[in-house]
Symmetry: C2
Subunit: 391 residues, 2 copies
């Protein structure tokens, strides 16, 4: 370890490390009983000799006594090379435990075979599941996936995009943070020709390919089902008004009322930031203001689950007094009691679709035109809205 001296007593043998604070190494001097931090300096750290010099094609070439180009070509079964030399090369490569250096390959090839995915939050099942879909397709064709979370912050979303770009990802798959409402970080790179695909939360104005969940129809199906179950005063707990998904899911909700020959009461439309606190506060306010409400449709499953828990605490029977439905098919919905009616947006399939569109795009090359796909989902009726058999 590089010797660090105490900032007070300037001794170094009394120093111990004590964790990291915001990117700085924290130290503690036992003698002075004093804590201090210093900026980590990865520059000056001498690289571990051990890991250096993994075998390269040069080594292989030397061993056999051929040129590097021969080795290079032999390893990728180039037709020029005789079967004989190919075999020799491959065998030596195996013996020396040769691993191609992806970095160097990327540098010459001018592509990294890596795609960057930006999602708001990896801990929510919804996004994790999309991710898995993306990874399954990507790894099948030998592409790597880099993941980063924006944690719903515009700033880190921008930073993440930047990181990906400087790392030469071949493409960018992005689901914007709730905060994001300017898109210069996307436009800029779009202009530079980097394939970008937006999914779920998209910015419609941007000329990128898009993969959408069937927000309108999903929301429509949920609402129609509830109406069919005899619910009349259905409040919708939506997200921020500006958000794409909010608008779309609201649209489906309104459509269902129209189809039923009635119209939704604007007083029952609630915009929230979808945090638990905000949602429950709105629910309470609504119930206080309007005793006729007989159902809540929350745009997010976790929100809906929280509503169920909350209503139960208040002694309200679900679905007899009040029905609840969600959106997203979160596994929790199947576990809570009563189990939650929800719309299954097929997130895994969505992920697969996003990845496929990316590969479509890079295969097309410059003559690709942006397109939008919609992933179909399906309604899952469970107890939280089930009052009677559907007509």
């Amino acid at each position: 370890m590089p010797r660090v001296k105490c900032k007070k007593c300037h001794k170094d043998e009394t120093i111990i490390r004590s964790g990291f604070i915001r990117g700085r190494q924290r130290f503690f001097c036992k003698e002075c009983d004093y804590y201090f931090t210093i900026q980590l300096d990865f520059q000056k750290r001498k690289p571990s000799r051990l890991k250096d010099h993994s075998t390269t094609i040069i080594d292989i070439a030397k061993v056999i006594g051929v040129s590097v180009s021969t080795v290079s070509r032999a390893l990728k079964d180039h037709s020029d090379i005789s079967l004989e030399t190919k075999n020799v090369v491959k065998q030596v490569a195996a013996e020396l435990n040769y691993q191609p250096n992806t970095l160097a390959q990327s540098l010459t090839r001018r592509e990294t075979r890596t795609i960057g995915v930006i999602i708001p939050d990896i801990e929510t099942y919804f996004f994790a599941s999309i991710l898995t879909g993306i990874q399954s397709i990507a790894s099948a064709v030998g592409y790597k996936v880099m993941i980063s979370q924006s944690r719903e912050s515009h700033e880190t979303e921008v930073a993440n995009v930047h990181t990906f770009i400087t790392n030469w990802v071949d493409g960018l798959l992005i689901c914007h943070s709730k905060e994001t409402n300017t898109f210069d970080h996307i436009k800029l790179n779009l202009k530079r020709g980097i394939p970008i695909i937006q999914f779920d939360r998209v910015c419609e104005e941007l000329n990128t390919s898009k993969v959408l969940l069937d927000d309108v129809d999903g929301s429509f199906q949920v609402t129609e089902h509830m109406i069919g179950q005899g619910f009349k005063r259905i409040a919708i707990i939506a997200g921020p008004e500006r958000l794409y998904v909010t608008r779309k899911r609201l649209e489906g909700y309104l459509k269902a009322f129209r189809k039923a020959g009635t119209s939704a009461d604007p007083a029952l439309i609630c915009y929230t930031d979808l945090t638990k606190e905000a949602i429950l506060k709105q629910v309470d306010e609504l119930l206080e203001r309007d005793r006729t409400i007989d159902a809540f449709f929350c745009i997010s499953d976790i929100g809906a689950v929280n509503i169920i828990v909350h209503l139960k605490k208040k002694g309200i029977r679900i679905p007899h007094e009040i029905g609840v439905a969600g959106f997203g098919n979160d596994p929790t919905g199947d576990i809570i009691e009563p189990s939650l009616t929800s719309f299954n947006p097929q997130t895994y399939k969505c992920g697969e679709t996003v990845a496929q569109m990316f590969f479509d795009q890079i295969l097309d090359g410059d003559d690709h035109v942006a397109q939008t796909k919609m992933v179909k989902g399906n309604l899952i009726v469970r107890s939280s809205t089930f009052r009677r058999p559907e007509p």
Copy 2:
């Protein structure tokens, strides 16, 4: 799009793409009504010209009329360079929207500032939360994190390790798949000097740093609490017998009985593969075989939650007839009714610790010695085991 001809009619204008199958592009000929796939050939794809030639330090150097080295040094505030030229360089760099090429940097620096994390499954909260902890520390010091899922398969775990290595990750943070019981893929790279840190599911024999959850103590606390609540015949639903966590959590369970002056009944110890089906089957068998069982302690929260749902379906009252506890503090446990008693292993903290140990290790360089840290957690008592106030 590269023109593809139908394998039957050999026309190309009737061909449309129709998705990917296992890494191969699938096509459909409208005329022949015929599907076929071909191997994607990313080699021959001409790189999009647009993205090429982002500005390099060479460009900057030319514009100002200095050498590349001056630019290189100016950009990283090297003390050699005069303030004046630094400013000029930086300004031009900004104007030309210069982004350093991380690949080239990594190549010369012989380090990528990327760490690879391998987890079994990103969709379970437990791992996702560890990941977030890792990322928070890593990004604070400017490191990127690559994530891959083994999906509980030894084979893909090995493949993932391999991918990371060829991509020159600076370190490997790994939580093994359930299947994994040979560790050559780790040993090999350990010998090559790549920093490896195992967490949660570790192989003790390997000489790597390790971060452990407090399995023994956590399990002990849970069991002790249950005993204190008057449960006497507590069955433990464990994972595969070979698994590290199984052994440790079992140890804590046994210890609690010993401390209480009794001993656990071996007949109540169940090894499962922790799938829902296996767990419920075991629960049923146990209940049938032994009517005295009054509690289940499942090693995983999701399993425990499933047990609760299952018992409720059977009309068994929890915790009055049978108590249930889990391990992991999965959010679902707080939502189900009765809410689930569990041990909170501080997964986020665990992730942070893993990352910190990695940075410790690379700072130490070659004179680093492996160490093992244990992350403390805390018992969360909820309704599923709560019969009376603790003594």
